[in-house]
């Protein structure tokens, strides 16, 4: 059968290559400049055939730029790229695809209403992808077969929107396998997975490497890199700092390479001496998600003054909806939210703001700020009604400017001036502006959703410090995060969400990652 032979060919090709050359992809002296920044500064990199090679670095270290150069999206200003020992110049992403380089992006490139098989064949310009008539059965058979071989179970006829995030990621990997990728680049693939799903992914990646493919694994999580990679190349500030063997390095030595200094990995928070009265009380809250399906089911929680309640869970299990429901952005279909004993008006963000609920939303750039407006405008985004920046209906622009300058100074925001548009700030600086605004409103309750997502190690430390300080001042904090280490390091109690339910509450002092992982995967609920 035609399909069968094709599969053997895929497996055979990289092995032959492995015999001929040890190096799959190499670059020397890659430099890529963008206006105002050098994203890659003379980067050297080399990944061998049959290797899982991790690319480790903080945000802004140049990992994404380098992978965009490998996939033909960017053209380097200087430097050379070699594939299996031969120099190559990619004119476009298509050339890179033809050369067998595929990338699994952090945000999946999938067409939601299409089936798995349709997505797999989409954009493929060889064979079936090119023919006028599509033969869905043949593609589905092929996809199912690839799935079986690599442990990527997913129904080829399912539509993308019906799949969990983990399954969608499998589709992306299947896409690469279907295109006979010899080099697979994954950009922070575990960000959306449970610990168990991540472990399964690692098995798949190892199997692919064992066949003679090359896997480039981009991450900033140290233990993952240790778990899956053969070698690690560390990028810092656009430069390649070192390539080390994963087996011989420790998380601590990798962290030191990554940030250029020693850091404390996951320092535990001292439990606040005394917690006060319950400030945030949620009773039997139910809400529907964007698709109109139940996203929150009978959630009951209470957070006391001075306490940090962590909410853990795999992305998409109701955490976002919980944050929105608590802050009035999503109406409840049942139940209630009360702050300091007063019940909030349902679906009214202004009432929540007036009750003293601060909110650090998950979507920093489009919910937390108006991206094209200035830092100054964004600092008063919630307080522009207040008497200190207004006279009658008029805004006192001078005072708004001063308030913003104060936030910039106090929270150490790296920005040229309060007039700078918010979207020009880096993720970490933007988050400082958001936190500065929320804290300057002197909240009684703070709902923080993934407050450190996408930030670098330095900024994460700062955000964690602000959250701890706020808790010490007596703010009741609900911290929603997919990063278990973060939740365990900060929270006094941890509630785990699965499919809209709170399936359990654990003590971060005694719970293990495995226990929480089991709850996150619905183990207890089933």
């Amino acid at each position: 059968m035609e399909d069968g032979t094709a599969v053997t060919d895929v497996a055979a090709a990289p092995q032959r290559a492995a015999a001929a050359h040890g190096v799959a992809i190499a670059c020397r002296g890659i430099t890529k400049r963008f206006p105002g920044v050098v994203a890659n500064d003379c980067v050297d990199f080399e990944a061998a055939v049959g290797e899982v090679h991790a690319l480790l670095g903080e945000n802004g270290a140049g990992k994404s730029t380098l992978s965009n150069i490998f996939t033909g999206l960017y053209h380097p200003d200087e430097g050379e790229l070699e594939l299996y020992g031969r120099p190559v110049v990619f004119q476009s992403p298509r050339d890179a695809l033809d050369a067998g380089i595929c990338m699994v992006h952090q945000h999946f490139r999938l067409v939601e209403p299409f089936t798995v098989a349709e997505n797999v064949v989409l954009g493929d310009h060889r064979g079936v992808g090119r023919s006028f008539l599509v033969h869905p059965r043949a593609i589905e058979r092929r996809v199912a077969e690839l799935g079986r071989r690599y442990g990527l179970a997913v129904d080829p006829r399912a539509r993308i929107w019906q799949l969990s995030v983990g399954e969608q990621q499998r589709v992306e990997i299947l896409k690469a396998l279907y295109r006979e990728a010899r080099i697979l680049i994954l950009d922070e693939p575990t960000a959306v997975l449970t610990p168990q799903e991540a472990a399964d992914l690692f098995v798949t990646l190892r199997a692919m490497a064992a066949e003679g493919r090359t896997v480039i694994f981009i991450s900033h999580k140290l233990h993952e890199v240790k778990a899956v990679a053969d070698r690690v190349t560390v990028l810092r500030g656009g430069r390649s700092i070192a390539t080390v063997s994963a087996g011989e390095s420790t998380p601590r030595s990798l962290a030191a390479l990554m940030v250029g200094r020693d850091v404390d990995v996951a320092r535990r928070r001292q439990r606040a001496s005394g917690v006060g009265e319950p400030l945030l009380e949620v009773e039997g809250a139910c809400a529907t998600g964007d698709r109109g399906l139940p996203a929150l089911v009978d959630v009951t929680l209470a957070v006391r003054a001075g306490e940090i309640l962590g909410v853990a869970g795999v992305a998409g299990n109701g955490q976002r909806e919980l944050a929105e429901a608590l802050t009035g952005m999503r109406p409840l279909t049942a139940g209630s939210v009360a702050v300091g004993g007063r019940r909030l008006r349902n679906g009214d963000p202004l009432d929540a703001i007036r009750a003293g609920v601060g909110h650090v939303p998950e979507d920093r750039l489009h919910t937390a700020v108006a991206p094209s407006l200035s830092i100054a405008s964004n600092v008063v985004l919630k307080s522009y009604r207040g008497s200190h920046v207004t006279r009658g209906p008029l805004l006192l622009l001078r005072r708004i400017h001063d308030a913003a300058a104060q936030v910039i100074r106090h929270y150490d925001v790296k920005a040229p001036s309060p007039a700078t548009p918010a979207r020009q700030l880096s993720g970490g600086n933007l988050q400082k502006v958001v936190l500065g605004r929320e804290f300057s409103g002197e909240p009684r309750v703070l709902v923080a959703a993934s407050p450190t997502r996408g930030l670098d190690v330095g900024a994460i430390e700062t955000v964690h410090r602000y959250l701890r300080e706020a808790a010490e001042r007596g703010v009741a904090i609900l911290l929603i995060s997919e990063d278990l280490d973060e939740v365990l390091a900060l929270a006094d109690r941890v509630a785990v969400m699965y499919e809209g339910h709170v399936v359990g509450e654990v003590d971060p002092g005694s719970a293990t990652v495995e226990e929480i992982g089991l709850l996150m995967a619905g183990g207890q609920a089933a």
Partner: protein, 379 residues
Amino acid sequence: MRVRIERRLAQPRWLPVGVPAGSVAFAFAAIAIVLVATGHDPLHTYGTLFRSAFTDDGALSATFVSATPLAFTGLAAAAAFRMNLFNIGGEGQLYFGVVGATGAALALGGGSPGSLSIAAMCLAGAAAGAAWAALPGVLRAFLRTNEIITSLMLNYVAAKVIDYLVFGSHSYWRDTTSPSADVFPQGQAIPDAALWPFATIEGAAGGIALPLGFGIACLAASALWGLYRRTRFGFEVQVIADSPRAARYAGMRTRRTILAVMCLSGAIAGLGGAAQAGNFDHLLDPRSLEQQSYGYSGIVVAALARYNPFAVVPIAFLLGGLKNAGFALQGADFPNGLVGVMQGLFLFSVLGGELLVRYRVRLERRGRGRVEAAQAEPA
């Protein structure tokens, strides 16, 4: 060589001025080719154009007549478009402004003092325009109906309404007294006391008559600028325009603001209707209003001004001049169609040039592939 169009990462300072200037120069060059091809002398034509728009006796006065309604409809469009609310209904809202203003003037009659009549006309015109704009506003705010479609369709309804008022009924607005009116129906003229004055500037080009309406348009432009830059309401408009999610997050009453902005936009168009009635038409004239289509031209004015209220007024003035010059150029050897071609090329160049404000064109030697992401951000 290959040509690439890329999003600009930074906008040089000269750009917002340089691009429109370059576009205009390009337009004149392109029009010159058409003129030569059709056997006209471009220099002579441009000379006539400029003289009849700005320097001939009475040319400036005539330009003000054309520019006044365009300034109002341009401001109306700019007010709504700034919040990404595409009110295409300036046309109908202007008709209703005329209906409201002439109605108020006729109701007050000849006995009332001029200033009172004028104030009443402004209020009634603005209120009528706002009320007509409230229809698509409510639909958009509360039922999420696309305001482009509804406001556009309501223009045709408004045209039918004013036709009915003058041609289809013996309404308040129809002239039922003069003998010719039975044969040729027309609107009832407003009393002399309600006519809007002109300020006359003596001197160049045989004196310039500056209509009161144009002055009100300038005031409206300043007021709109202040409203959007300096007030809490304007702040909400800015945030909603930039990110509706952020506005909801900040507890802003988005629906209320949508309705308010639609009504504001309609009120400005209605005020334009009042100025048209008070300064120039003096009666409800459906044929003329429908033929002029000030509302649609106002959208072009707003786009050229990049929704900046202060830029709307001079651009309305330029386009008004161009429109008048078009009438002056037409003749036996200069067909109407050619005027249309000139105006079309002009607008095409200027609007097309807008692309260059946000994107840049780069020529590359050899075929070096370079695909920059829409927002090239290193990370």
